[in-house]
């Protein structure tokens, strides 16, 4: 496989990963954190 082909395949894989990442990021619009989960309080 020559370098150009490898690059093209990589680009496609990256694009798909980005789209998935974007969607997953959108999914996590809220997050519950314990109010006890702050370092520096009793």
């Amino acid at each position: 496989m020559n370098d150009t082909t490898a690059a093209t395949l990589d680009d496609t894989a990256t694009d798909e990963a980005d789209t998935t990442t974007e969607l997953l990021d959108d999914e996590l619009l809220v997050e519950e954190i314990s109010i006890d989960g702050m370092c520096g309080v009793y």
Binding site: L23, D26, E27, L28, L29, V30, E31, E32, I33, S34, I35
Partner: protein, 106 residues
Amino acid sequence: MRRLLTSDHQRTVLDSRLVLDPQVALRPEPFGALAYHYGNRKLIFLKHPDVVRVVQHLDGAHTLAETLTACDVDETRWPSFERALTALTESEMLHEHRIEHQVTPG
């Protein structure tokens, strides 16, 4: 195709008339907002200003779908908003407004 992941519950959340629980304090922040429920002591980070806008627009009279439309949220983003508002409902931050209670807007 991501809609395949939605359950019955999440499909109907768009039809629900949600309202912020009076025991919840919503504190706007640069990243979005902090929501703290004084009753169950849960603390939730609302991680995007758009979620905050939607929550602030909930009046118990309009459905979530109507609210999302009114807040100019593109329909492609609705699944993630459904998930977020469902999570807020499960944490008791939001609840379904009862149809029987005729609330006079004021």
